[in-house]
Amino acid sequence: MADVSIKDVVKRYGSLQVMHGVNVDIADGEFVVLVGPSGCGKSTLLRMIAGLEAISDGTIEIGGRVVNDVPPKGRDIAMVFQSYALYPHKTVGDNIGFPLKMAKRPKQEIDDKVGRAADILDLTKYLDRYPRALSGGQRQRVAMGRAIVREPKVFLFDEPLSNLDAKLRVTMRVEIKELHQRLNTTIVYVTHDQIEAMTMADKIVVMRDGRVEQIGTPLDLYDNPQNVFVGGFIGSPSMNFIHGHIRDQGGKHFVSDEGLHLPLPETSASDGQAVSYGIRPEHIGIGDSGIRMKVVVTEPTGSETQVFARSGDDLIDAVVKDRISARPGDEVGFIIDPARVHLFDRETEQRII
């Protein structure tokens, strides 16, 4: 087991710079998720930790040792690929045992460890099969088996669940989490799916355009997003953003560009300041009081109802536990808890409250 320290890491392809000084500290045994939209550099960063991609500037340390120039085999890490990358001409057993064979371990030891890994991952009866005869979830488990037999210091996962169907994804999420609790090895996990990030991570690193936007625990990112991007990226359905400015008439409140008046908590924002008003759909209640808005669409899912309503051009999305009888065109009242409101500067997109 080991900690991983990423310091001022830069990646250039020729004159094109795609990563601009990334700093991340990963503690021993921590489950860290790198998350962001495609092209944000999360996979590149993971591949730099793996040694599959050269580091243009800065350093990466694994277990206190700078590994910039260490090839993958010398880093004592294991990786699970998005495509699983199972060797199609080798059986499940040979796939799992391959890292040990490369390390020239004795046959007895290989058999023992493969047997144990297969046992953990429930693959024992498939050991003689070829990958093509396995289902997606089983292939995924073989890929994990190949990673765990080595007992590496760090596990790297590159979008391991994105090729699975939704139901299996939830199951495998639990399995990976369980595996982490059992082995307690440092994990760096890349995904573009914020739900995966929220449910699995001890710590989330949100990335965009080769930069780290924010690092924190899942709930910390949810409660205190540093900027509009993180606010919008974390949480599902996404946070509502309404553009407008602050008006100070006795008490401060928010006026949208469309003229919608919304409540604010205590804030240092000054009268007339241009801001983006952020409120999560689940923090809006629906009742007879509150701000009157016209329902556009309701989406009942059984456990909750999502209501889209409009006032002028402002579209607001609310999620409530109750079943709503309102039909499109009806007027309902949106009740906003000021304590749950996020305010971002319109120019810098940085958090004000």
């Binding site: 793996a50 040694g51 599959l52 090839p71 993958p72 085999k73 890490i77 294991a78 990786m79 690929f81 998005q82 495509s83 990358a85 199972l86 060797y87 199609p88 001409h89 391959f98 890292p99 490369m102 390390a103 190949r146 080595r150």
Partner: protein
């Protein structure tokens, strides 16, 4: 209706096969006839077999030497060319080389000129320049192997590239992560997966070298002469030995037929390997 079209296509393909195979049959017919019968009115079916030509060819030490030369040259060439082609394709598909598409295209340009163009320069180079002391490449098996390399290597690179392109690079990376060296990545992962393509390349380059006549006839005198060039020695000023020539031709055909039938399955798999994503 459907039954009728099946019959029609069966008849059609039988006819095509007969037309295609007839010259080979006729070659065999000539090889088992005594010389006096060759120019009489031909019979379509053989009434008797005359094996003397075969005995003559098999007991002729010179011809046995030619056969041996052909085997060595084609096998040596196929092995060398396939190995080099495989490694070249590995580099071309796995590494970020500047101008690799140009390199790839450039390799095929020497197949665009007729081989006869190279005859004179190759002959002169091999007699006077490519030599160490008394040893020159002219009339040596290694000389012939190397000359065939220049023609076969581009071919091997072009047939192997789709195969190597079709093997996901994730597998290489997974193997690196699993602690494999570059050599192990090739021997444990890439090569086993490329086997059908490699088999096809081996066979096609082997057949090319086995069948080649023009360069072999010019660049060898006696020591490295191959079976195809041996054929022409039976056209002499005192007459042409048709029976012996036909027999040698049969011997020339047999190995190619054996190799083809052995890897026929791989050819179809190999030729479509790059096109079909698994």
């Amino acid at each position: 209706m459907k039954r009728q079209s099946t019959w029609l296509s069966l008849v059609f393909w039988i006819a095509v096969s007969l037309i295609t195979l007839f010259p080979i049959y006729w070659l065999f017919v000539i090889s088992v006839k005594p010389a006096v019968d060759l120019f009489t009115t031909p019979d379509l079916f053989l009434k008797s077999f005359y094996w003397q030509n075969y005995l003559d060819v098999l007991t002729d030490r010179t011809l046995r030497g030619y056969m041996w030369n052909s085997l060595i040259v084609s096998s040596g060439n196929a092995l060398l060319v396939t190995t080099l082609g495989f490694l070249a394709c590995y580099a071309l598909t796995r590494y970020d080389l500047g101008g690799k598409e140009s390199i790839f295209f450039w390799t095929i340009t020497n197949r665009m000129a007729p081989p006869a163009v190279f005859l004179l320069p190759l002959f002169l180079l091999m007699t006077s320049y490519y030599r160490i002391g008394n040893f020159s490449l002219l009339d040596t098996k290694i000389g012939l192997i190397l000359v065939y390399c220049t023609l076969n290597l581009p071919f091997a690179i072009w047939t192997l590239r789709p195969t190597l392109d079709g093997i996901p690079k994730d597998l290489d990376e997974a193997a690196y992560m699993d602690g494999a060296s570059s050599w192990k990545v090739i021997s444990e992962v890439v090569f086993p997966l490329a086997r059908p393509g490699v088999a096809v390349t081996l066979m096609l380059t082997w057949v090319f070298a086995w069948n080649e006549y023009l360069l072999a006839a010019t660049l060898t005198n006696f020591n490295a002469r191959t079976l195809t060039t041996g054929l022409s020695e039976y056209v002499t000023t005192t007459g042409t030995e048709w029976g012996v020539m036909a027999t040698i031709s049969v011997f020339t055909l047999i190995p190619a037929l054996i190799v083809f039938s052995l890897v026929q399955k791989h050819i179809v798999a190999g030729l479509t390997f790059g096109a079909v994503k698994g």
